[in-house]
Symmetry: C2
Subunit: 150 residues, 2 copies
């Protein structure tokens, strides 16, 4: 599947929902075992002048990590997102971001995430944030699988 | 000082800048040794339907924690924000959020932050997020003091 996951399974989330016109609308796609996200901030996504706001960086990481956990679980269980919404979802149990360098507001951020550990309900995802090839932040997210509906 | 800190020292940050018309415009004020923030999300700040997006929660925590570190340092060093921008700033070194319960999108979030530990350059801030009196998230932020200008 070459299309970004969020264009296949459309949701309303502020961070990743294709249906949220106010939101960040990040796009995540497989690249081997990594999940890749390229995202360009708007000029108003600044924290200190000239640099991307840390809360926005955390937001992009949060959604991208959750989609990584979801996509990984779909791949393992043979659920194709093209067939419709999965009967499960992932929510963020915890998120830890280490900010190593400021991320310039100009240009794209690149996020690379992968599954570090997979338990029965919890998946731990590691995520790196790069700008112009330089690692600016690293993060670890714990995604918790929940069942939807009855 | 009864006014929110962000109305005294106005910045452009997406999370807390009074000058950022696209941003969250959070407001932080002293209440004893706690720093208090009441913030009402817009309907589009959702993650899963009905609940506040975790990235937005992390964003509000991030800014509120940084202002807590700044205000604490100002109070210790006798710098009054009314007198003008301080010659130092705080940036986020790391942020860890534990999401305990989903935060309903309706109504206000209340954040209570306080300084847990103060080093030469690093201040560790603990922050709780409540909704209708129920603790929904806890967080720890490491704020790093940087000097501005020459």
């Amino acid at each position: 599947m070459d299309r970004p996951l969020q264009d296949v399974f459309k949701v309303h989330c502020f961070g990743c929902g294709a249906l949220n016109t106010h939101g960040l609308q990040i796009k995540s796609r497989w690249e081997g075992d990594d999940m890749l996200c390229n995202w360009k901030p708007e000029p108003y996504h600044i924290g200190h002048p000239g640099y991307v706001y840390g809360g926005t960086i955390a937001s992009v990481i949060d959604c991208h990590s959750i989609w990584t956990a979801l996509a990984h679980y779909c791949r393992e269980t043979g659920h194709a997102l093209d067939d419709g919404p999965p009967p499960f979802a992932f929510v963020t149990g915890s998120l830890k971001v280490d900010y190593l360098k400021p991320v310039p507001i100009d240009g794209e951020m690149e996020l690379r995430a992968r599954v570090l550990e997979k338990g029965e309900r919890k998946t731990i995802i590691g995520c790196r944030v790069l700008h112009s090839g330089i690692e600016c932040a690293t993060a670890e997210a714990v995604a918790v699988r929940v069942r939807l509906g009855a």
